[in-house]
């Protein structure tokens, strides 16, 4: 190995090591802060303390955590199931039953993929307020269940779905929905897994729309609770960190359980 190659190698390890350290540090910080008092966190204490139970107690005393976690779970699970069901059917439909008219609709949808949420937010808010649906799961979930991105994702994936399977199923006398549910769904398992990860993460972490729609404490999700704890005049970061860990655990779990699908899901749209 030449000197310059060795130097490059050393720089690479140093750079990657430093980047990894910076990437992981905030996680360590979150875990450490969870066990320290507000003052200790504010002073940058880097070692584990003994305030963990006190922080947990304070969090559970100020917030109805069971209710909050229930809300988050409903939003994430129901939202994910509905989104995947409706959007995967549409993605399948766009690819299998192609026509010029449908292709035009699809092109129009793709164009809208880049319209920012801010441009829809106000009419959506007015709409749900006038329908008397503010502060409800319906208001949170309904605008998101038809996701253009997921429709697009499934349309791309459907290109790889073998035609022979569909033809054989038709000869067997299955109707189109039976083909979709009994043949397509099991065959496309990995696509569904990846899409589930994306949608679950997005729903669990959703912030702006829930912030607008959910107004009472008994409807808040964990993401909103973390945010409102820290917007207090003098936030107790020990307590905030406990909430932050609780908010991160499910997505961490999903990540390590489905790491493959997770990465596939992120990059799948452009392959």
């Amino acid at each position: 190995m030449t000197l310059s190659a060795r130097l490059l190698r050393a720089t690479t390890y140093a750079g990657l090591g430093f980047a990894s350290l910076l990437s992981v540090f905030p996680f360590y910080w979150m875990l450490v802060s969870m066990t320290n008092s507000a003052v200790q966190v504010a002073n940058g204490k880097l070692t584990f303390g003994n305030q963990f139970l006190a922080n947990v107690q304070e969090l559970f005393a100020s917030v109805d955590m069971l209710r909050v976690l229930f809300n988050s779970a409903v939003v994430a699970v129901v939202g994910t199931v509905l989104t995947i069901a409706i959007s995967s059917a549409a993605g399948y439909g766009f690819e299998i039953f192609r026509s010029r008219f449908k292709d035009r609709i699809f092109a129009l949808l793709l164009l809208m993929l880049s319209v920012p949420f801010a441009a829809m937010m106000i009419p959506l808010f007015v709409m749900f307020a006038q329908a008397g649906l503010m502060n409800s799961f319906t208001a949170i979930l309904l605008p998101g269940v038809a996701s253009i991105f997921i429709v697009f994702y499934f349309r791309q994936a459907t290109k790889a779905f073998p035609h022979e399977l569909r033809d054989a199923a038709r000869i067997d006398g299955l109707n189109e929905w039976q083909i979709f549910l009994r043949i397509y769904l099991p065959v496309m398992k990995s696509t569904y897994a990846a899409a589930t990860v994306i949608v679950f993460m997005a729903n669990w972490n959703a912030y702006l729309w829930p912030l607008i729609v959910l107004q009472t404490n008994d409807m808040k999700t964990i993401t909103l609770v973390v945010s409102s704890l820290v917007s207090a005049y003098n936030p107790n970061y020990g307590v905030v960190s406990v909430a932050a860990v609780i908010a991160t655990l499910p997505t961490c779990f999903v990540f390590f359980l489905l790491q493959r699908s997770f990465v596939e899901g992120l990059t799948g749209g452009v392959k």
Partner: protein, 288 residues
């Protein structure tokens, strides 16, 4: 099966999604445009023609939010994409020891929600906090940096935070693309004595052009909508130094006396910017 029946079956798959998208996407987008022609408080709106545009031109807070947003875009996106590319190229080397560990570590920030990591950054960058402690300890600074109370430094914190959260995400796209590039090209270049940086600039980057363009576009769209971080780390402050367009729209609608018409006008500025910037980026990619 005749084609008319197939047609009906086909629509049965599309209809639920299309109805929902029409109701909760197409209608709101058009309704925003209509609202932007009106002014008034709350739902007492009257037709105002171009009055909102006049207000926009005279609104210093709007220009503040616009320039902040563009600053984040111009500074943060290139830094992040460059870092992501460098990490991906380094990690694509099969001889590298511990590459799976490095990759997981750099990607890990992606599992946090935008709100959660914002909250962590707010506490880390506190005046007596861990970042200042470390900088003082290493003698990089003599006095603690007023990260969150100085307008300039507050912007730096936002840029650092976004870069932390999204570099790994961008890196994964590069890694996926690099895996599709034939390794023998690199072997040949190395044998021919092409130095590392030239391999990066002359070989890798041209081949990754579509991905770089894609990442620039999605990062642009994301940055123009920047909200969670500035809301939770700085609340747009100090002195509007980190106010973004999305946060301004939120404030106009839900914090101040609601002026839906004007807020809708500002939201169309974002729509326009996304359209223009995507178009420019496509043109640049085409020309070069």
């Amino acid at each position: 099966m005749n084609s008319r029946r197939t047609e009906i079956w086909g629509w049965s798959f599309l209809l639920p999604a299309l109805v929902l998208l029409g109701l909760f996407m197409i209608y709101p987008i058009l309704s925003s445009l209509w609202l932007s022609l009106h002014s008034g408080k709350g739902m007492n709106l009257s037709f105002a023609g171009a009055a909102n545009i006049t207000r926009l031109i005279d609104d210093p807070v709007f220009f503040r939010a616009l320039s902040n947003t563009l600053l984040f875009l111009v500074v943060q996106v290139p830094i992040m994409i460059f870092l992501a590319l460098i990490f991906a190229v380094a990690l694509n080397d099969r001889a590298l020891w511990g590459r799976a560990w490095f990759r997981t570590a750099i990607f890990l920030p992606c599992v946090t929600s935008l709100v959660t990591y914002s909250v962590l950054f707010k506490s880390m960058f506190a005046y007596d906090g861990v970042v200042n402690d470390t900088l003082l300890l290493l003698n990089i600074v003599d006095l603690p940096i007023p990260w969150l109370t100085d307008p300039g430094w507050a912007r730096v914190v936002i840029i650092i935070a976004i870069t932390w959260r999204w570099t790994g995400y961008n890196m994964i796209f590069f890694l996926a693309a690099l895996q599709n590039i034939d390794r023998s090209i690199y072997e040949q270049a190395r044998i021919d004595g092409v130095p590392a940086y030239a391999r990066l600039v002359r070989l890798t980057m041209p081949m990754l052009k579509p991905i770089i363009l894609f990442l620039f576009i999605i990062s642009t769209i994301g940055t123009l909508q920047l909200f969670d971080e500035v809301m939770n780390i700085t609340e747009g402050g100090p002195a509007d130094a980190t106010l973004t367009l999305s946060l301004y729209i939120y404030n106009l609608t839900f914090k101040f006396m609601p002026s839906y018409g004007y807020a809708a006008t500002v939201s169309y500025v974002i729509v326009l910017l996304v359209a223009i910037l995507s178009w420019i980026q496509f043109r640049i990619a085409k020309d070069s």
